[in-house]
């Protein structure tokens, strides 16, 4: 029995965004993905297509990936109009081909945002997210011996809320799925993660002002409360974090002693 005869294999038609470089015009090109095992992940499916392309002497499709376990935040494309594909709470590397049917036509596009420049094909420059972290997504603490666990009392629910926000892997799907290419879920998650805990409070006002200023300068759009980001976030981070961002920013801008 050959591989193509097994029940679990499917054939797909891919329409993939191909772009040679940041300043070159790109376009969707059609490829056939043949004999794809439904146990494969979406990225493994692209690997198979790329192997064929290499054998044909063609340029393989460039895409970002690293851990392939859904925790690093490197992978991500817009598949049929959904960031990370059609499954809820899943990164692209954890999206399995069993969610597709034989002979499906699948359109694969890079994250689209003024702030994220296409480097090649499906790879975009997400360094604007790093710039946002540099603007305030940290706490300042003197290094030294590790503090005792539970030295600072934090209610369990608060710790959980902070952890829910800290689940952000910085993949940029929120920006990609936002109708306005806004980064407010990302910034909201980072602000919340730190502002909820005592260690983050001393710098909360400075952080909120600085991160929002940087977010605006980088050319991200504005949130219109459509919650598309929440629906596409692989870590299912809630838009309540955007409300907390708004609250933290207005409190910092209008009532804190931070003057900037």
């Amino acid at each position: 029995m050959t591989n193509s005869e097994t029940k679990k294999d499917i054939n797909l038609t891919l329409k993939v965004w191909r772009q040679k470089g940041p300043d070159v015009k790109g376009k969707l090109e059609t490829y056939q993905a043949k004999n794809i095992s439904t146990d494969m992940s979406f990225l493994e499916m692209i690997d198979v297509v790329n192997e064929d392309l290499i054998l044909e002497g063609k340029d393989p499709i460039a895409f970002d990936h690293d851990c392939r376990e859904g925790i690093c935040g490197m992978c991500g494309c817009v598949v049929d109009g959904r960031a990370h594909g059609p499954e809820q709470g899943t990164t692209l590397c954890q999206l399995h081909m069993r969610h597709f049917s034989n002979n499906d036509v699948v359109v694969v596009e890079p994250w689209r945002s003024r702030a994220f420049k296409v480097i090649k094909d499906l790879v975009v420059d997400r360094s604007p997210l790093d710039k946002l972290i540099q603007a305030g997504g940290f706490i300042s603490a003197n290094v030294g011996g590790a503090p005792d666990a539970n030295a600072i009392p934090i209610p369990h629910d608060t710790a959980e809320l902070s952890m829910d926000a800290a689940a952000c892997i910085g993949c940029g799907a929120c920006v990609a799925s936002c109708p306005n290419a806004s980064a407010m879920l990302f910034v909201g998650a980072k602000i919340s993660q730190l502002a909820l805990l005592p260690q983050g409070k001393p710098e909360a006002a400075k952080r909120a002002i600085s991160m929002v200023k940087t977010m605006d300068e980088l050319g991200f759009g504005n949130c219109t409360n459509e919650a598309e980001c929440e629906a596409d976030c692989p870590k299912e981070i809630s838009i309540t974090n955007i409300a907390r961002l708004n609250r933290e920013f207005l409190k910092a801008g209008l009532f804190s002693t931070v003057a900037k």
């Binding site: 407010m184 504005n222 919650a227 609250r247």
Partner: protein
């Protein structure tokens, strides 16, 4: 005062303007609807309501100026945000799909907004900025709704009012950061209720007036 400008001119500051002015309009629509309900009590009740309003003296022109200011802020800020959001994605997707967050109301906010802007100008030119000597406000209203086209326009636009309010009202609270596990579900329900009250409440008035002519 640099801090004030920087805060209010930021993305979130602009959203704050949208939220506060939008909530004021919800307040205005509530009083406007309550006042208009006197139409159901007949010609005299409505005329005397209008007379009472105008006998309040300087409060009315001051309130009108206030509404105009809110209107200018809401429209200009809304258009600015719409333009900035459009610019934030220079290359559009070939395939767009709803991930589950978008609603008809949220998706159409800028468009229903522009329709409401045009309607408010039309409404004011038709019923406010006209020669009112030798006639009563009730006659003006009944003349307007004696035309079927006017009844249709008002009724259709009230659907857009409902849509705009259903997303706008709860959005305002989200923008203000007034989000709470206990209150947010209630605010979302109130948003829907308010949009139905405005849509049906205002929408039935032209139908009622045209039916009793």
């Amino acid at each position: 005062m640099n801090w004030l400008f920087n805060t209010l001119w930021s993305s979130i500051g602009k959203k704050l303007f949208m939220a506060l002015t939008g909530l004021c309009f919800c307040g205005f629509l509530t009083t406007h609807l309550i006042g208009n309900l006197t139409l159901y009590a007949g010609k005299d009740a409505f005329n005397s309501y209008a007379e009472h309003l105008h006998s309040l003296g300087p409060i009315i022109p001051i309130a009108e100026m206030g509404l105009l200011l809110l209107f200018v802020i809401h429209v200009l800020t809304g258009l600015t945000l719409f333009y900035k959001n459009f610019r934030a994605r220079p290359t559009r997707y070939a395939v767009n799909k709803n991930a589950g967050g978008r609603t008809i109301a949220s998706f159409t906010m800028p468009y229903t907004g522009v329709i409401l802007f045009s309607f408010i100008l039309f409404h004011l030119l038709q019923l406010h900025f006209i020669d009112k000597t030798g006639t009563t406000i009730y006659e003006i209203v009944s003349d307007t709704f004696s035309q079927k086209s006017n009844v249709a326009i008002y009724c259709i636009v009230m659907i857009f009012v409902g849509l705009h309010v259903s997303h706008g009202f709860w959005s305002a609270f989200q923008t203000l950061g007034a989000d709470h596990v206990k209150y947010t579900p209630f605010i979302k329900k109130l948003s829907l209720l308010l949009s139905i009250i405005f849509g049906v409440g205002f929408g039935l008035i032209p139908i009622y007036i045209s039916s009793i002519l």
